[in-house]
């Protein structure tokens, strides 16, 4: 154990962030592609082209989501417990949406029947759009605080309703999430397909991108003016044994802006969000989708970190019992567990990046209708 407990708590906040960003950049892109599938592909061959650009990678990409879930379970067990059980039906909705993807990708091309394939196309659309929307909605609710409390034995009780999750601000957050992933997916398609799909993808990046930028700006203004943040008012004891019931938390206006005031460098995150999305549109329109993809990846990173930095150290604030709020200091696992997992992450994340890159290099090409027709029985 080289790192002390306090450091590891921050490191794990960052690592969960990295895993979520990894998810958005890779699997989020696949979700964007799924969302666009029925609209950008006019014929069956064209849709197969779209699917086969992500065909070899979607499964590996999805593991970012699974690992992010596993890491939250292991590093922030109480967050995993309270959020997943509290957002019960929202989580099931995302899960049922995700169901459509593995079977959609693998089963669609197995039978050459128009209705069969059409049905799976809409399945892949649901599998892309619904989870993207739900994860954004979940973030939107975390920013507003969630009605829940912990009893003396740390059992979480959620007192809200499913429909309560679908409030206007959360829906806006859902829209941002869906928009940024769809933009990201469109640029990917521009990069990896040929005409006419690439042209169609290019044609939508501007609208989706601008709408997402506008929504992100609106959410920022809304957050700054209309949504009360949370603040820990009791003294912070470094390296303390985690106990989410001993602190004192208040809800107050502008609290979500305080980190940006205290650490002005964090303002780079919203800036990166705007600049990334903006440059991705520029890249796309100037036929430089490779740079566009880099820019949209940075844009996603900026947006996710903007929300994270606004809330830090809060992860899941409670509106009904603010003292029950889960924060990065007290919702965490033990020093040993964080340490073991830290080393696992340090060893394996670079390794994962290495072999994932290799698979992208080996499969890199523009997928064309001709190729799909030549490999009718091999391709997805």
């Amino acid at each position: 154990m080289i790192l002390d407990y306090e450091t590891l708590k921050v490191v794990w906040w960052l690592l969960v962030g990295i895993l979520l960003i990894g998810f958005a950049v890779t699997d989020g892109m696949d979700m964007g592609v799924g969302t666009l599938l029925p609209f950008l592909g006019k014929t069956d061959d064209e849709r197969r082209v779209i699917i086969n650009t992500i065909g070899p990678h979607w499964d590996g990409n999805q593991v970012w989501l699974i690992t992010a879930g596993g890491a939250i379970f292991a590093a922030w067990p109480l967050v995993y417990a309270a959020a997943f059980s509290g957002f019960y039906f929202a989580m099931l909705l995302a899960l049922f949406g995700l169901f459509f993807r593995p079977v959609g990708f693998d089963y669609r091309s197995k039978i050459a029947n128009k209705h069969w394939r059409n049905a799976w196309d809409w399945g892949l659309f649901i599998g892309g759009a619904v989870p993207a929307l739900v994860f954004g909605i979940a973030f939107g609710n975390l920013l507003q605080g969630v009605p829940f409390h912990l009893d003396d034995f740390l059992r979480p009780y959620y007192s809200g309703s499913f429909l309560g999750l679908l409030n206007p601000f959360a829906l806006l957050a859902g829209f941002i999430s869906l928009g940024m992933l769809t933009l990201h997916g469109a640029i990917w398609l521009q990069l990896r397909t040929a005409e006419p799909i690439a042209e169609r993808a290019k044609a939508v990046t501007k609208q989706i991108g601008l709408a997402t930028i506008a929504a992100f700006a609106l959410a920022g203004i809304w957050l700054a003016t209309g949504i009360d943040g949370f603040r820990v008012v009791s003294e912070h004891i470094p390296n303390a044994t985690p106990n989410p019931l001993t602190k004192e938390v208040i809800q107050e206006a502008h609290a979500w802006l305080s980190n940006y005031g205290t650490y002005p460098l964090t303002l780079l995150f919203p800036l990166l969000g705007f600049a990334g999305l903006g440059l991705s549109i520029v890249g796309s329109l100037n036929d430089r989708p490779g740079w566009g993809l880099v820019a949209s990846s940075l844009g996603l990173t900026g947006i996710i970190m903007t929300a994270g930095a606004a809330m830090f150290p809060f992860i899941m604030p409670s509106t009904t019992h603010p003292n029950s709020s889960l924060i990065a200091w007290d919702a965490v696992s033990s020093h040993l567990t964080l340490s073991v997992m830290f080393w696992a992450a340090v060893i394996f994340i670079p390794l994962i990046l290495l072999y994932t890159t290799w698979t992208y290099v080996m499969m890199w090409r523009r997928v064309t209708v001709e190729e799909i027709q030549a490999q009718d029985h091999l391709a997805y």
Binding site: P56, T67, D106, K110, M341
Partner: protein
């Protein structure tokens, strides 16, 4: 106290979605290695038929794998959605192997599986074999970490309860990983997966032989699978799970339940072949026993006794009473009376805290339980015996049946006369469900046999669930029912369709349905072949 019908429904949902997930996992574990063997032969000999074998069995592998991934997602979500208190109480220990599984194994398997299917044209022969190997290695490594997590539920080593954080905390990662229960479970489970895949390939290959089609393809597939299956079933049986039954109270209870052994018998204990175990009478009616056999199977010795359920329950009663004291001090400590005396008293009894929590089903504060409630908790401290007793016998029966088939198949295949043993080929075809019966009943024995515990001796299932309502569960179960039934029908439809099509589904022009006008007799795959690309 949580709503008991909600807990029942949560258990139903978890058990049925886990059993469903486990329909697809064993085939993935085994078939991936069979693909590695076939592809190795292809790379070494350059014979196209082996590549076709990899591609065809790979197609069926893919149909199965897609549902494995789909239903695996449910498993990850469900700990949080439905077992929130479990997630809090043991996430510090249980979450780690799951997260490491993702980082170390699942990434590996999933990243390379895409190239396995779609990389044929873009990778060299050796690169593709490497990809297939990494996919198989990843999926088996994944099973290792999952079973480390599961082994910890059965025998929670390397962890300790902390009253300050109100949860179990890891004290030794090494102990968690080297948990003897996890080790034997891993060997037993993956080997069972290998048998499953072998029986699958054998049954379908047997059908091709019976139909007299694609004989060269079918015979080679049969040969690979029968050798692999023979080695695997011997591992399942010889390195069976029993050696893990000596460790920890939960495993001892499970063993006694499997044998419906109420009284501790003098060593070596008899094996009950038939009987009607009854939890209320604490007796097994109409039992037929074979002397000595259980002692030999369970303890591998003639002088170690297998403890009976009544004696185990007597031990549990002592521990429940201890647990009540532990709970009393826990309340004091959590309530702020954190004195050295209270800490010492709690530490002294805390190993039995879990037993005290068993009383939560009957009373809000276990420290104030009545004598009657204690007796009810004692009765709850062992699982319902009859289902375990029977599930175990079904599993062993299916295992022995497969052993016989594999021995015969291996023998006739070695003598190169397997095609003439039509009766045996029919038996192989109709035995395709056998491995699934064995693995599902095996899962049931392991997990139902763990009851009343979510984490053995630590956390009762009855308090592990989320704070949901029965209504929430009815809605979610209905959702799963609709999705899983539909997906199952689609999967079976595709599986049967492609199994019937056989290697003709590859559209190479070399196989049965692509030849004009003849069925049996000819072996199209050995006919002049197109050059390798």
């Amino acid at each position: 106290m949580l709503d008991s019908s909600m807990i029942e429904l949560s258990r139903w949902q978890f058990a049925s979605t886990a059993l469903y997930h486990f329909l697809f996992v064993p085939l993935t574990l085994g078939l991936s290695w069979i693909l590695v063997i076939m592809e190795s032969v292809y790379v070494m000999t350059g014979r196209e038929i082996y590549r076709d074998m990899v591609k065809f069995w790979g197609k069926l592998f893919g149909i199965n794998f897609a549902l494995g991934v789909t239903t695996g997602l449910t498993m990850e979500f469900q700990f949080g959605t439905n077992w929130a208190y479990y997630s809090h109480y043991v996430g510090d220990v249980f979450g780690a192997p799951l997260a490491i599984e993702g980082l170390m194994a699942f990434f590996l398997e999933s990243t390379f599986i895409g190239l396995f299917f779609l990389g044929w044209e873009r990778l060299s022969k050796r690169q593709h074999l490497g990809v297939t190997f990494l996919m198989a290695f990843g999926s088996n490594l994944s099973a290792l970490w999952i079973l480390i997590a599961n082994g910890w539920m059965q025998n929670p080593v390397g962890a300790e309860f902390s009253f300050e954080t109100m949860r179990m905390e890891m004290t030794s990662f090494a102990e968690l990983v080297t948990n003897p229960v996890a080790q034997v479970k891993f060997v037993h489970t993956v080997a069972a997966g290998y048998v499953t895949a072998s029986m699958f390939v054998l049954g379908i290959s047997a059908w091709y032989m019976l139909k007299g089609r694609d004989l060269a393809f079918a015979k080679r597939s049969f040969s690979v699978a029968v050798g692999f299956g023979m080695a695997s079933i011997l591992s399942v049986i010889l390195l069976g799970d029993e050696s893990g039954y000596e460790v920890g109270d939960i495993q001892r209870v499970k063993l006694a339940a499997i044998e419906a052994e109420w009284e501790t018998e003098p060593a070596p204990a008899a094996f009950t072949v038939y009987g009607n175990p009854n939890n209320d009478d604490r007796e097994t009616h109409d039992a037929i026993k074979i002397p000595w056999l259980l002692g030999l199977i369970a303890t591998r010795s003639l002088d170690t006794e297998v403890k009976g359920l009544k004696d185990l329950m007597a031990e549990h009663e002592v521990r429940i009473r201890n647990g009540m004291i532990a709970y009393e001090y826990l309340e004091l400590l959590r309530g702020g009376a954190d004195t050295p005396e209270n800490r010492t008293a709690f530490e002294k009894h805390k190993a039995d805290l879990g037993y005290g929590l068993l009383l939560k089903t009957y009373v809000e504060n276990p420290a104030q339980a009545s004598e009657e409630q204690i007796q009810l908790a004692v009765k709850d401290s062992i699982p319902e015996v009859a289902p375990i007793f029977w599930a175990f016998r079904v599993m062993v029966g299916a295992g022995v049946w497969m052993l016989l088939l594999l021995v015969l198949g291996f023998y006739f295949n070695a003598k190169r006369v397997i095609q003439q043993q039509r009766w045996l080929l029919w038996l192989f075809l109709f035995s395709i469900p056998m491995p699934w019966i064995a693995v599902e009943t095996g899962w049931f024995v392991a997990e139902f046999g763990r009851q009343p515990w979510a984490i053995g001796e630590v956390l009762p299932t009855s308090i592990a669930a989320s704070s949901l309502t029965a209504n929430d569960l009815i809605i979610s179960i209905s959702g799963f029912l609709i999705f899983y039934t539909t997906l199952f029908m689609i999967e079976m439809f595709l599986m049967v369709k492609f199994a019937r099509l056989g290697p003709s589904s590859l559209h190479t022009g070399r196989y049965h349905h692509e030849q004009s006008g003849h069925a049996g007799g000819m072996t199209p795959a050995t006919a002049p072949q197109k050059p390798v690309e």
